[in-house]
Symmetry: C2
């Protein structure tokens, strides 16, 4: 069966038209199906465990004293959006690599700082997603295949680096996380002998979390899980309560742990020959990039979209928002977040049309995915699993883009988060990816 | 307008027929409507706060050294069901009033023990609902009208008195609750300066609790709320962890606090002249009783029903179950539990027909109630409030009985809980109540 040459002929003949692109791929159909079955098997086999806390420089592959990791596909300093630029500057000051903001800007202009995407270093970060060398990081490990993935601790709301705002308060909090919180959590996680992540998310899905913009239940469940080790280690009551209240006061605390777990799962499916499964969706605030299993580490990018229909905080509107940003869409790549919005009625206001619209979105995501993940049963759908494993072919053929539950940062003022809502991954990423796939396999 | 004599004529003429009873009541219609509006206003105005922990003997009105309080309407020893008898005997041994089980039985046969319903002492208890003099009790207070209601701490699952089983393990746990847990919780609640109850339940409803058989989220939220005071008081780590783990290990912990809060609300509507609002539903395992606002403290009873369609633990079936038992149906009287089952998809298996059946039940309960309680927005119904304030007239006229989420105790072996499911309040209670209402007001 000479699929390849048939496809080649087709692709050559009808290059840019969506319908025929898909048609071409159908010749490869059976082999793609087999590859995708393997990809899905691997995705569903991953068992992520929060196993340790360590300093980024010690554990993240390729991290150096002068490296700053960021969200999304690769991007140079000049093209970064304002909130990401601010977060990079803040990180340089936090690291002592620059004495102040002005000095940080000079370092960056003179290209004295290595900027690199989290995704190239087994890491994931929310919103601006900055990881700098001295930050303590969550270490998650897949007990099935053995891979490790890293993320920072979530800083909470307000003047925080992940929202691209930095002030004295921001740096003070980062120092406390580095000097107090991180070392305590290292002891806690060691004492707990690791914390399996899916079981917390599976309970969260039963309690109204979609596990991206709503982590209220899973953050509480995590807190409950670590209390005994937290109390058991040798701490003053003051520090114990600081640590406890920091987590208890942040309903997004578990977000970064979820991201790392989802990346572990999706990375397990990376680089499978002829698989059309989407293994990453990520945004740097300028570009939106996706990765396809069969295309390995290649990014297929398009301009990052704006959140037109988001709910904005009072005093802000669509015109104030930066484009979509963050590695957190790895959660949707794994079938949670926007794909699981029917599990989170409290997120219905995001969907604009009430709860029935949330159900419609989850059902629609079922049309572009390959499997229902029975680990995460959506209660109101009679425990039907979350729609998982985006198939590039289906996105292009049906013309439905993945739906992502996201947040909006201010485009220029450093105000941080100004809204939240749903964004659709750009169709252009998928049509580009399909062409690249066609080129590679035909 | 001589409503009374018209009604009298009607009632005299057509006594026992449901349709005409209701017809008769319609003459009283406007005055009943006014009375019910007041009842609902009072129910929705109550703001229950968990304010203290104290010993039953110190605080429960009418409690004496030789009194044992029980669930349901009044009942003499001989007519009690087996699990309630066992719980009473266990309480006598726990109190030291009897040296052993045999001595307890003799005391009871010789009527040396005062048995009285919780509801006659501003108290509520789950399942057998036993409260004995030395037990520490939750003290809840309505900050609107000032009334106080009491309940015990929930013992958890297994060999526990509230399930009518007692062994050394049961008594040891009760002693620990009395000597260690209760005093610690007294300090915690004092330090917390009281804990408002509705706000925890309102969050619980958003996180999959129906607040009767599922309290997983609200128990976690309570635990999170008390952690800071718990750590702040002077305790050894050992005791701190014992107390924490006792609550963390029991997803029904908040149940007894919910019962007390619901009783505060319903008691606020008790004794309003001409009101047909149901102010209590309660079962002692032999009789099912209801109270109607306009009938004051009168109980209208019928035989307690069996749970035919319950889910039974392996090895047990319908033939092993005792009739329905417990004061916890005060929760349904307040529009939570079975009335709010659409908020708890995890309870769908109770409903037998999946999640759509849960929605149907909540909608049906809307037909026999007077108001939607906006404090508790049911997420999947686009935050429609829980159906609250059962109208005796509607139950009789439409012929739909209240739906209660309940559990089943073994009828004879002392095995404790053997199943859980939905039970319907007996229609007979309501038809009797309507007749009594007719007699009183015509």
């Amino acid at each position: 069966m000479n699929h390849a040459s048939s496809v080649n002929t087709m692709v050559a003949k009808i290059k840019d038209q969506k319908k025929t692109e898909t048609g071409a791929l159908k010749y490869l159909g059976e082999r793609i199906n087999e590859a995708n079955t393997l990809a899905i098997d691997r995705i569903l086999s991953v068992e992520p465990v929060f196993i340790d806390v360590d300093t980024a420089l010690n554990v993240i592959p390729g991290m150096t004293h002068d490296t700053i990791l960021h969200a999304g596909p690769p991007i140079e300093w000049e093209r970064m959006c304002d909130p990401m630029k601010r977060a990079v500057r803040g990180a340089l000051v936090f690291e002592g690599l620059a004495e102040n903001d002005e000095a940080a800007i000079q370092l960056l202009k003179r290209k004295k700082v290595k900027l690199s995407p989290n995704h190239h270093h087994d890491a994931a970060g929310a919103m601006t997603g900055i990881i700098s060398p001295s930050m303590p990081v969550i270490v998650t490990k897949d007990s099935t295949f053995g891979k490790t993935v890293f993320s920072t601790f979530n800083e909470g709301a307000g003047k925080v680096l992940w929202f691209g705002s930095f002030e004295k308060e921001t740096l003070d909090r980062l120092k406390w996380i580095r000097d107090i919180f991180g070392p305590v959590m290292k002891k806690v996680i060691k004492k707990a002998q690791g914390i399996p992540i899916w079981s917390i998310l599976a309970q969260g899905i039963q309690m109204g979390d979609e596990c991206h913009n709503r982590h209220a239940a899973s953050s509480n469940l995590f807190l409950k899980r670590i209390l005994e080790p937290l109390v058991s280690i040798d701490l003053s009551k003051r520090v114990l309560l600081q640590v406890y209240n920091f987590i208890a006061g942040n309903s997004h605390f578990f977000l970064n742990i979820t991201m790392a777990a989802c990346k572990l799962s999706m990375d397990a499916a990376r680089g499978i020959r002829e698989s059309t499964v989407v293994t990453a969706m990520s945004r740097n605030g300028t570009d939106f990039g996706i990765r396809i299993s069969g295309l390995g580490n290649e990014w297929c990018t398009a301009p990052a979209p704006y959140l037109k229909d988001a709910l904005y905080n009072p005093g802000y509107n669509f015109n104030d928002g930066a484009p979509d940003i963050g590695d957190s869409s790895i959660i949707e790549t794994m079938g949670l977040g926007g794909f699981a919005i029917a599990a989170a009625p409290a997120m219905a206001s995001f969907a604009g049309g009430g709860f029935q619209e949330s159900i419609r979105i989850t059902k629609e995501m079922g049309r572009i995915t390959l499997v229902k993940n029975q680990k995460f049963g959506i209660p109101v759908l009679d425990f039907e699993g979350t729609p998982t494993g985006i198939d590039l072919r289906k996105v292009v053929e049906i013309g439905i883009s993945p739906s992502i539950n996201s947040a909006v940062l201010h485009k220029s003022s450093g105000a941080g988060q100004i809204g939240a809502g749903i964004v659709k991954a750009p169709y252009e990423c998928f049509s580009k990816a399909l062409k690249a796939f066609g080129r590679k396999y035909t």
